[in-house]
């Protein structure tokens, strides 16, 4: 009788997705807060560094010309923290289906924004990580790959939840 092994392609992709996307989201969040200005001490230096980095990120969000300047400010203040939390939750693996779905939706949004900017030949920075990074075709390719990985990870996470682990105890009759 064939039984699925504990480690198969589906579970491997889930693990890879968790590690890669979780790590990238945590890095993206921290880099938006701490780059390019990283004066950490004393406290007022850190506050000023973070304020300036968020202000720069808000400018980058606004440069996409999708949302209003006020909404850009809101996104700039919230998104880095959301990315850090989601990344950590993905790495931990708690309630995986929920957070994998959230990350897939966010990645799809990023992909739509960068693709639109690329097709409109907008000369802007990606705003993906803290340091200035020109938006090019490679940005679209990279985001496409991450979105595909997120989607696969989410789909497989749902499938894994429907199928019991082959080594789990059978249900009592």
């Amino acid at each position: 009788m064939m039984q699925s092994s504990p480690l198969n392609a589906r579970r491997a992709i889930i693990w890879i997705g968790r590690l890669v996307l979780g790590g990238i989201f945590v890095y993206a969040g921290f880099s938006k807060l701490l780059l390019p200005n990283a004066h950490l001490w004393p406290m007022f230096m850190l506050k000023f560094s973070v304020s300036m980095n968020i202000a720069s990120f808000a400018q980058q969000v606004e440069s996409y010309k999708i949302i209003s300047p006020e909404a850009s400010q809101l996104v700039a203040h919230a998104l880095p923290f959301v990315e850090i939390v989601l990344g950590l939750l993905l790495l931990i693996g708690w309630r995986l289906r929920i957070w994998a779905t959230a990350i897939t939706v966010i990645m799809a949004g990023f992909l739509a924004a960068v693709t639109r900017a690329y097709l409109l030949h907008m000369d802007i920075n990606c705003g993906c990580f803290g340091v200035p990074e020109k938006l090019t075709g490679m940005t679209v390719v990279r985001d496409s790959a991450f979105t595909a990985l997120a989607l696969l990870m989410t789909v497989f996470a749902f499938r894994e939840a429907r199928e019991p682990h082959p080594w789990s105890a059978p249900e009592k009759v």
Binding site: P36, N37, H39, F44, M45, F48, S49, S51, M52, N53, A55, S56, Q59, D123, V131, P132
Partner: protein, 217 residues
């Protein structure tokens, strides 16, 4: 033994030359503003008291939208509240980015205007009309709107003279030392410490930061 008149003349001439050169070098040093930790200050593009507790060097590009935002949101209040009151010594540095076709030309015109004491109005008109002249490249026409005919003649002569690029290149080289990778970048000097910050800041943020620096013991 009789004195050799030729040797005595040579000695006297040499001594006088040495004294003259020493005095000239001292005078040259006095002519350049001296601020601890800051070199190559163009006095035409520096504002405020060089004894101010804080020195701010702003590396900017006239064709950079973020630099325009920084200028329009902070410059007037910074000049009124901190530079004029002796709290900040403000130095403008040119850092034209290679992807901006007309930023170096704009920097030349601004430097030329600085030499005739008209840096501020030219800086203002360049930033305020950035969207227009970056499309057409008409930096000359933009600057001409705030200068008289005689002043424009002097500015054009300075721009054509080709001597202004040396100053721009010095500023750019200094920016490399500070690891400036984007504009605007503001470098704060206070109590022997140097703090470079890249990006735009609002006046409120800047005010809080400057007040904190000033209150440090």
């Amino acid at each position: 033994m009789r004195e050799d008149p030729v040797n005595r003349r040579r000695f006297t001439t040499g001594t006088m030359l040495f004294c003259l050169l020493s005095n000239l070098s001292v005078l040259a040093a006095r002519a350049m503003p001296q601020v601890e930790g800051v070199t190559d200050i163009d006095p035409h593009k520096a504002f405020g008291s060089k004894n101010a507790p804080i020195t701010m060097e702003i590396f900017s590009d006239f064709q950079c939208p973020a630099c325009k935002t920084l200028f329009t949101s902070t410059n007037r209040q910074l000049m009124d509240n901190y530079v004029s009151t002796g709290k900040v010594y403000l130095i403008h540095r040119d850092f034209p980015l290679p992807m901006h076709a007309y930023s170096r030309i704009a920097a030349r015109y601004a430097r030329a205007a600085a030499q005739i004491g008209k840096y501020e109005p030219v800086e203002q008109v360049l930033f305020q009309n950035q969207e227009k002249w970056e499309q057409t490249g008409d930096v000359d026409g933009t600057v001409a709107t705030v200068l008289s005919a005689a002043e424009m003649t002097k500015v054009r002569a300075l721009v054509k003279g080709g001597t202004l690029d040396a100053g721009i290149d010095k500023d750019s080289a200094l920016g490399q030392i500070y690891r400036v990778s984007q504009t605007p970048t503001t470098v704060f000097h206070s109590k022997g410490q140097t703090y470079p910050f890249a990006g735009v800041m609002t006046y409120d943020m800047l005010k809080q930061f400057l007040d904190q620096l000033l209150s440090q013991k």
